[in-house]
């Protein structure tokens, strides 16, 4: 409609420039630093070249780093499982009518907008030994001792519970939007054919919801793979290595030990793994879209 594209590029240019400087330049810079041995606090604070891919070779055998990646993936899958299950049930229940529905939904939306660092603080205040009511209630009514400062398993599951508290609303609302956009015809035909609710759910609702489900899984996986703030606030990555997810591990290596070169290599690997998972899901999404066309 416009005779030339100059105006178009002009409109697009500020966005591209900012994304280049703040997005792409850091990427190439971290790629570059990753090839050097560099610790500004060491005896020799300069950058030293130690052979091609030196840092990466070190990382392949770095058990702590590999364990942190494995821990992040495990965490992402576990939280996704619970959030999807719970979110689906809640979304389905929101389709029917019951008293105070919009009130309940409003409350359910609340965690969604709270900053991760504030969620970490809320849970710290709620569960910390000597202050929070949760350890007291568990002790009094179930005889269960909650002290995630000492027990690795408890710390991990505490983070899982916090993540479920924080992000189930997102899953619920997204699935609800998807459910209410579904066409009604298949349901009517199924009812005429005498299908029961369970059959309708398995053979009609689930298949029609697959595109929405994939998007939810995509967004949630990306977010939980990069979790840092809440964990940092609640457990600080401890006890030991129990809640040291990849982001926290990089933080500790870079800003406490000042391993710049190794930290860069970690960042690149971390980015690479995220992109691979992302790309896999994206191609599933695209291929499904093509099948439907």
């Amino acid at each position: 409609m416009f005779s030339n594209n100059r105006t178009g590029w002009l409109l697009l240019s500020p966005t591209i420039i900012i994304l280049l400087i703040m997005g792409l330049v850091p990427f190439f810079y971290v790629l570059y630093v990753g090839f050097f041995k560099w610790n500004p606090l060491a005896v020799d604070p300069s950058m030293q070249f130690e052979g091609f891919g030196f840092n990466y070779r070190r990382l392949i055998f770095d058990e702590v780093f590999l364990a942190s990646i494995w821990r992040s993936i495990k965490f992402s899958v576990v939280t996704l499982f619970f959030e999807l299950g719970l979110g689906f049930i809640l979304a389905l229940s929101l389709l029917s009518s019951f008293p105070l529905k919009s009130f309940f939904r409003g409350i359910h939306t609340l965690p969604l907008v709270i900053a991760p660092i504030v969620v970490g603080s809320i849970f710290k205040l709620f569960t910390v030994q000597g202050l929070g009511p949760l350890p007291h209630l568990l002790k009094d009514y179930f005889g269960y001792t909650l002290n995630y400062g000492l027990h690795a398993e408890q710390a991990f599951w505490m983070i899982v519970i916090m993540d479920i508290w924080h992000w189930t609303p997102f899953v619920t609302l997204t699935l609800l939007a998807g459910l209410s956009a579904l066409p009604q015809d298949p349901y009517e035909s199924a009812k005429i054919d005498g299908a029961n609710n369970f059959q309708i759910f398995i053979y009609i609702t689930i298949p029609m919801m697959v595109p929405v489900l994939i998007v939810v899984i995509f967004i949630r996986l990306m977010d939980s793979l990069k979790i840092v703030d809440e964990v940092w606030m609640l457990t600080g990555g401890g006890p030991g290595y129990a809640t040291r997810f990849t982001g926290i591990h990089i933080w500790k290596e870079v800003f406490e030990k000042r391993f710049y070169g190794l930290g860069s290599a970690m960042s690149i690997l971390y980015l690479y793994i995220t992109i691979v998972i992302c790309w896999l899901l994206y191609s599933v999404m695209v291929s499904r879209g093509k099948n439907e066309d």
């Binding site: 594209n5 966005t15 994304l19 971290v30 309940f104 900053a115 504030v118 009511p133 960042s267 995220t274």
Partner: protein
């Protein structure tokens, strides 16, 4: 059949009541902690709403009036507002370009902006720290520990989402309207001012609010890229972790104050939030 339906209704209401208690209980406790003295917090947790009778205001005045937290609060407001304005303006321009012009490679540009959103901030923490403190240098001025640095940086995370959100809306405005205005001799500014902005107003509002919220809530990068002058509220909140013998009351008060914009936001766009946050999913 009728009894079964009634039973289902009761069960659903019960489920949602329990859920709401689980959601609200930790927040309620934070409010309680923020209004109590350290002595009142000692011992067995008292769950009664004591703030109805007496509020220990010192928890709020100590950080925000006597302490440094008022500066953090002002920094947060400046960074989040400027970021929201910048992101909305740039995203509107970029989306219009992507939607109305047949630019070669515009599909790849769109995908590239999206990948910026997916990147884990922790992977960019180190290069940004080094670039901000040593490489991006203009005389004595570095981007490290400046508000302008944070404002520009948050664009990387907010622009993709903003473009994603606005693209559907601007695509939905018929091209014929633009063409009619061009025939009448309107330039690009008139088209934006008279046509695009009024028609896309709800989308623009949600976009800027979400950008504001992101910039307000962001912690990791803010804490690595600032040290004294540009610290925001989330970084201030994290300072409570490292100090020994944490003053829980003050921490709860700061957390509560930093939650206020989020609550206002929720109150304002409660109706749009589903559409805003789930845009891609519903389309997909």
């Amino acid at each position: 059949m009728k009894i079964r339906k009634l039973f289902g209704k009761i069960l659903t209401t019960l489920l949602w009541s329990i859920l709401s208690i689980i959601t609200l209980f930790p927040i309620y406790w934070m409010v309680l902690v923020s209004t109590r003295t350290p002595v009142e917090l000692f011992g067995k947790p008292d769950l009664s709403p004591t703030f109805l009778n007496k509020i220990h205001w010192k928890n709020f005045t100590k950080p925000f009036i006597d302490g440094i937290y008022s500066d953090y609060l002002i920094n947060s407001i400046i960074v989040a507002t400027s970021n929201a304005l910048l992101v909305t303006t740039l995203a509107l321009m970029a989306t219009y370009a992507l939607s109305r012009f047949k630019l070669p490679g515009s599909e790849s540009i769109f995908f590239w902006t999206m990948t910026n959103r997916m990147a884990p901030p922790a992977a960019f923490m180190l290069p940004l720290f080094l670039l901000f403190s040593t490489v991006f240098k203009f005389g004595d001025f570095t981007l490290f520990d400046t508000k302008i640095g944070l404002i520009l940086l948050y664009c990387v995370f907010n622009l993709p989402f903003a473009i994603w959100l606005l693209k559907g809306i601007i695509d939905g405005i018929p091209k014929e309207l633009d063409e009619a205005m061009i025939v009448d001799g309107a330039n690009i500014f008139t088209i934006f001012w008279k046509l695009i902005i009024p028609l896309a107003a709800p989308g623009i509002a949600v976009t800027s609010l979400l950008s504001f919220l992101f910039a307000w809530n962001e912690y990791l990068l803010a804490s690595t890229l600032t040290s004294v002058y540009a610290r925001t509220i989330p970084t201030g909140l994290s300072e409570f972790v490292t100090t020994t013998g944490t003053n829980w009351g003050t921490m709860a008060a700061v957390a509560l104050v930093s939650m206020i914009p989020a609550l206002l936001f929720l109150f304002l766009v409660q109706r749009y939030i589903v559409a805003g946050l789930t845009f891609g999913a519903v389309k997909g």
